[in-house]
Structure formats: structure tokens, C-alpha cells
């Protein structure tokens, strides 16, 4: 039942040493750029760069291998779904049609479709290394401070920190509740039919959620007692001042974002065509 998750690995690398706030800004600008552009040249350049950064971080393959498989599976399914639903999407976008192989019915593989789907693939490939890297190299304790630093209200930033703090506790509660439910004869496995499974799930959700609501009351009383929310601002134990490397990273990502936007929209279209 215990699922593996991406968690902070405390190595020492240039990427680990960057402040959380700098990494957050890089990740956000990078993701937005990758979302906007459909320019193959930009995407390829960004992919290359993200792999270089990935190497620099020295994270271990075993720390993220399991998500890689999930991502690859999702990737394949999504590619197939795009083709099934819209085999001529590429032709529609690029306005030309070069048939390669005819399959059945309306399904024909075109060069435009392959190129379009390559671009879709690239868009994911560009974001994923940095997303994984962000999670593996950012200490969760620094995360809330970073959010607040980039302008998020401190209470909302602290809510994110609370979520990270209580995920393991709630997972433990969930495991214990489902354990005791099973011992009472509540079957959660696939053997049961759907309505029964839903019903059984409810008898786990009810105690989990009702006890969480009580927990919310206890935690907020404890936080009141410790003076949370009294001031307009708060300081953060885990905040760190920006170092040269942080400014450098933020500067680079701004430059990349600007360059990619200019290149992409130079000819008035998001899509770069080779046809």
C-alpha cells in the first residue's frame, strides 16, 4: 500500500544549493515558456538545456525511476489517444498533407501528424526533468518561505507547508483505518462489485474525514496559541538570501523565456512548420 513518492534528497550540487525561491521562479517561467511555445527549435534547445541541468544535479536514477515509468506510460496512452481522436490534427495545424501509410478507414499516418505529435512529446519532455529536479532538490521546509518570497500571501504559503507536514500523518491514518476496516470484514479489493466497493470506501472515508475535521480544530487552536496570523508579515526560519548563483539562474531563465517567446511569435504563429 505504501506508494513511493518524490521526496527531497539531501545531496550537495549546484542545483541543490540554489535557494528554493530561485528554483521556484525558474520552474514557473520554464513551464510557462514550454506551455506557450510550439516551436520545435525552442523546444529542442530547452530539452537539451534541461538535460544538462539534470546532469549537474547528480540526482540518482533510483530516486525518480518509478515516476519515469508512470510518465512514460501516460505519455504513450496520450499519444495514442491523440491519434485515435484526431489523426489529421497535424494537417489541420500546418495546412498541408503528406500521406505516409494508410491504415484503416479515416486513419492515415501523415508526416504532419508525426511532426505535430513529436512536438507534443517534446513539450512534456521539456517540463518533466525540471519538475522532477525541483521536487528532488528543494527542501520542503524552504518551500513555504519561497512561495511567500515570490509574493504569495504568507497564510497561503503556510497552508502549503501544513499540507506537506501532514501528508505522511494522513497517509498513516488512512492505512490504519483501512486496516481496521478490513479486520472487521470490509473488503476493499477488486473482488467486490462496484456499488459495494463504493459503500465500503465510504466507511473508510467517513472516519478519516471526520477525524481530520477535528484535527483541523486542534491544529488551529495550537497555532492561535503560538501567535500565527497576528501580524501583517512573518519571517521564515528557512528563508535564505539570494546568492550570485540564484540571480544567475533567474537571469538565465528570464532570458530563455524572452528568447523563446520572440522566436515563437516572430512569424505570427505558435507553430513552427517544416512543411
Amino acid at each position: 500500500m505504501r506508494a513511493r513518492m518524490l521526496t527531497f534528497t539531501g545531496q550537495n550540487s549546484p542545483v541543490h544549493r540554489l535557494t528554493g525561491a530561485a528554483k521556484l521562479i525558474v520552474f514557473i517561467l520554464w513551464s510557462v515558456s514550454a506551455m506557450i511555445t510550439y516551436d520545435t527549435r525552442c523546444l529542442l534547445a530547452m530539452l537539451l538545456l534541461s538535460l544538462v541541468v539534470f546532469r549537474m544535479s547528480r540526482v540518482k536514477f533510483s530516486d525518480y525511476a518509478f515516476v519515469l515509468y508512470v510518465i512514460l506510460l501516460f505519455f504513450m496512452l496520450n499519444q495514442i489517444a491523440i491519434f485515435v481522436f484526431s489523426p489529421l490534427e497535424g494537417t489541420r495545424i500546418y495546412g498541408s498533407r503528406h500521406d505516409l501509410v494508410h491504415l484503416v478507414g479515416r486513419y492515415t499516418v501523415t508526416a504532419e501528424q508525426l511532426f505535430y505529435q513529436l512536438n507534443v512529446a517534446l513539450k512534456y519532455a521539456v517540463v518533466i526533468p525540471l519538475a522532477i529536479l525541483f521536487l528532488l532538490t528543494t527542501d520542503p521546509g524552504e518551500f513555504a518561505a519561497s512561495l511567500n518570497r515570490i509574493g504569495v500571501n504568507y497564510k497561503i504559503a503556510y497552508a502549503v507547508s501544513l499540507a506537506l507536514r501532514y501528508i505522511p500523518d494522513i497517509q498513516r491514518d488512512y492505512e490504519q483505518i483501512s486496516f481496521s476496516a478490513q479486520a472487521r470484514g470490509i473488503d476493499l479489493s477488486r473482488r467486490e462489485k462496484l456499488p459495494k466497493r463504493v459503500k465500503n470506501m465510504i466507511s473508510i472515508l467517513t472516519p478519516l474525514i471526520l477525524s481530520s475535521i477535528e484535527r483541523i480544530e486542534r491544529i488551529s487552536a495550537a497555532m492561535e496559541l503560538r501567535g500565527f496570523g497576528a501580524g501583517r508579515r512573518r519571517t521564515w526560519f528557512r528563508s535564505r538570501p539570494f546568492a550570485f548563483a540564484d540571480w544567475l539562474a533567474v537571469g538565465c531563465v528570464c532570458a530563455i523565456a524572452a528568447a523563446s517567446a520572440v522566436i515563437t511569435f516572430y512569424d505570427g504563429s505558435r507553430f513552427y512548420s517544416i512543411f
Binding site: L6, L162, G229
Partner: protein, 186 residues
């Protein structure tokens, strides 16, 4: 629940714990429905309940934070179009059901109808319109594909919240009822 500067502490904590629950239920609490690629995501029942209890801001942020963390921790990268839609579901349910004061323990027929009208509207807007449109805008995916996916997911979530969400809200309401007239029996 807003007070002093911005959010009250109980709302902040509800956002934190709600997001943590969203992550755990998003990972463990989904039941395959038997229809391929569609499952009963119990986590949306939780989102609906918390939006009802703690209001639209909490609903919005639980959707955004919970969904981002769930995608990030377990799947490596957040899928932003759906993250935003989850936030929207929480926001709309919170706004539309703000007249239900469940804290007093009253969750009868009238409240159930209001709650369900709210959740159906929220899910329809989020999954039938916003999520597919964002998919097209952000990822330039084919319209047919994303609208079909949205339709299936939205319908499944309406059923999930309609059944499980309503039952959870009723269960919560009952714990808050005034127990004035209880007598020991012999």
C-alpha cells in the same frame, strides 16, 4: 470566515489538511469504474465537502494546492489545465453553497438539492468547458480528444460527489446536531 487580515487560521489549516487529504485520496482513494480510463475519484467528494464547510477560498486553494502536490509527488509533473479546473470546482461549490450553514447540523432535503445543483454546475463548468479549453490553449491537443475526456471525467465526478459527497456532508451534519432530547433507555 474572513477576519482580521485575510484568511482566518481555521481556513488556513483547513486548506493545509484538505490539500493533504486531496493528495492521499487522489492516490489511494480512486475506484476503477469498469469503464476504461474512468474511475471514481473520491477525492472530489472530499473537495466538495471542504468547499461547503470552509468556503470558496478554501475550496479554490485545496483544489489548486492538493492537485498540484498530488501530480508532483506521485506523477512527477503537474498537469496544469486540470489543476486549475480542480480549483475552479472548489471555488464554485464554495460560492454556490455558501447559504448552507451545515455547522448547525442541518443538512436536509433543501440543502441536499442546493449542494447538488452547485456541484453539478461546478463540475460541468470545470470539466466540460474549462479543462478542455485549457488543454487546447496550453497543450494544443485535439478538440475531440479533450472534450471527450472532459465529458467522461465530469460525468464521473458529478456522480461521485452526488453520492459520496452528499453522504459525507450528511454524516458530518449529524455529528453537529444538538442532542437535547436524548434519554437513556432501560
Amino acid at each position: 470566515m474572513a477576519r482580521r487580515n485575510g484568511l482566518s487560521i481555521i481556513t488556513v489549516v483547513a486548506i493545509g489538511i484538505g490539500s493533504a487529504l486531496f493528495v492521499i485520496l487522489g492516490r489511494f482513494g480512486s475506484i476503477p469504474s469498469g469503464i476504461p480510463n474512468t474511475s471514481i475519484e473520491t477525492t472530489y467528494a472530499l473537495l466538495a465537502l471542504f468547499s461547503l464547510l470552509y468556503g470558496p477560498v478554501a475550496g479554490l486553494l485545496i483544489g489548486l494546492i492538493g492537485h498540484t502536490l498530488k501530480d508532483a509527488i506521485f506523477y512527477g509533473s503537474p498537469w496544469f489545465s486540470w489543476v486549475i479546473s480542480s480549483g475552479l470546482v472548489g471555488l464554485i461549490i464554495g460560492l454556490a453553497s455558501s447559504r448552507i450553514s451545515i455547522a448547525d447540523g442541518h443538512f436536509g432535503r433543501k440543502e441536499i438539492i442546493t449542494f447538488n445543483v452547485a456541484q453539478v454546475a461546478a463540475n460541468a463548468i470545470a470539466w466540460f468547458a474549462v479543462a478542455p479549453l485549457l488543454d487546447i490553449l496550453i497543450y494544443a491537443e485535439p478538440a475531440d480528444k479533450v472534450f471527450t475526456q472532459g465529458l467522461v471525467a465530469g460525468a464521473a465526478n458529478m456522480v461521485t460527489v452526488g453520492v459520496i459527497g452528499t453522504l459525507l456532508a450528511a454524516a458530518f451534519g449529524k455529528t453537529r446536531t444538538k442532542q437535547g432530547s436524548l434519554r437513556k433507555l432501560n
